[in-house]
Amino acid sequence: MAAMIETQDLTKYYQRGGTPALQGVTAQIPAGNVGLLGENGAGKTTFIKICLGLLAPTAGTARVLGMANTERALRRKVGYMPEDDSLSPDLSPMDLLVRLGRVSGLPFRAAMERAHDVLYLVGLGEERFRPIEGFSVGMKQRVKLAQALVHDPKLVFLDEPTSGMDPQGRDEILQLIKNIRERLQINILLSTHLLADVERTCDAVVILREGQVLAQGYLKDLLAGFEDLVYVRIFGDLNGFAQCLQRASLSVSVLGSELAIEFDGERVYEILWREAANQGVQIRRIERQGHTLEQLFLRLHNLNPHPSPLPARERG
């Protein structure tokens, strides 16, 4: 499948001699819902702005939907939901979307029709004529999402779409994002530091850290190389029990008030119960979980104090 976004050695310095925001980022981002994951300051917004032509890279190239990032025709095919507020407070969503739709090239009538449709799609149908200054954070996020969709783009860049939202609002926005891909077949690049958002909505992920790519690929491939974890909560000496299990050749980590044991077969349970009986420890809870993106993310950070590309499979 052709890559939606291709970058080659993308580098960006904001100040000569300073820390690079991006360094040598080479990525092939497939079509679909893709997460751009990283801590604050990892370079996510810089990456997006270079792809959109809002920033010039110091070195390297970027191609989006088969076109150079600086081509004007590309900007008709992409939408951008920025992290900043970016909304004119005295305009209504309807006025804003018609204006931006027309600037994108939509004839007036089409811009009006699509503005109505998109605002209903994002759940602002009843508020579309109210000035934006009176909107809540969640409503403003929806307006930003709507303006990114009004001109029917093929690819939408969403920068922290759930920023500042309450749990219910976040849930609704994430569902909306999933619907945009599934119903409307619009590709999405979701930039966020929230792992759960990516896990819930995305099929693939690019993980950035300090301006470099830590990992990239489909989630199922990235997580396939890691074993499940068995979480155990006990009543007793947690650290002592962990050492016993380690002596019995289990791979154990202490996570707060729980133990996380890598599952490599049913013998894990046999050893667990045997050692619990020997040590007089009460097992209160056992739960086996598939490897989550959070665990992948933390593991990549722990294994890569100086980030470099990591193969998807860790075990042979």
């Binding site: 600086t70 992409v78 900043d84 004119s88 027309r102």
Partner: protein, 303 residues
Amino acid sequence: MQAPKGVIYDQGYRRYEGAYRGRGYAIWSLFSADFKRALGIKKGLWYRVFLWIFFLIITVQTVFVFFFDFAAELGSPTPATFGQPHSFLFDLMSVILLFLSAMVAPDLLSNDRKSKALQLYLVRPIELYDYLLAKAGAIFGFLMLVALVPQLGLFVAKTFTSEDAVQYIANHARDLGALTLSSGLYAFFYTVFAMALSSLTTQRSQATGAIIALPFFLGLGAALLLILTQNQYVQLLDLDSLPAGLKNALVGVSYGQQNVQITLGDRSFSFESLDWPIYLLAYGAVVAFSLSVVLFSYAKERP
């Protein structure tokens, strides 16, 4: 059971199958939207109140000039300093044009930068220059309208009150060109000046204050320097004198005498108008500097 009838008209969000217009259409759409905003359409109550107050003042000025000129034609004694009525009306209106530019330019420019809305435009298929051109066009169009319509109204009023309307038009048809050009000179000057100051700040109130205050203090300084030095060229510091000097060359002076003499106590000072090429040079210099300020302050928005 009957088959359901009817047609679904609202199908919700659909993919767009039509054609996209070009860059020229995008600039035009941005211009027309901002031109409507300048006229107060869908703006707040206070914006429209101030706008109509200014329109009322200009209307009163136009009526005043017409009746003053009409009275002079009937033979009533008038101050010797009163001269060409259209020129006089420009002199009265110039302050209003300054205030209107101070109202409109920050609203169209500073707001977008303050709210960081500019990036929403630059991810569309237009360039930064297109955006600035549309904004300038909207401000210029608005000020041009405000400057020209009263002049045309005065022209029409004088036509209908003349002894022979047809003859009046025949004799003064060329004046319409001079009025249009003079209105354009004023509108363009205040457009670029107001854009320059608006581009320096994201705070609308700061830009408005600067646009009003700077010409005032420069004019005051010019007058003081003129009195102190008697160097006529310092009057070029009075920004309003630049379009006024060109207007005088096109339309005629609004004063009966080219030069004005003022007596303060036992001292007298004379203020002489300069030749129009000097005003043109100064006008061009201010416009070029203002445009440079706009382009420089927006330079960081360009990739």
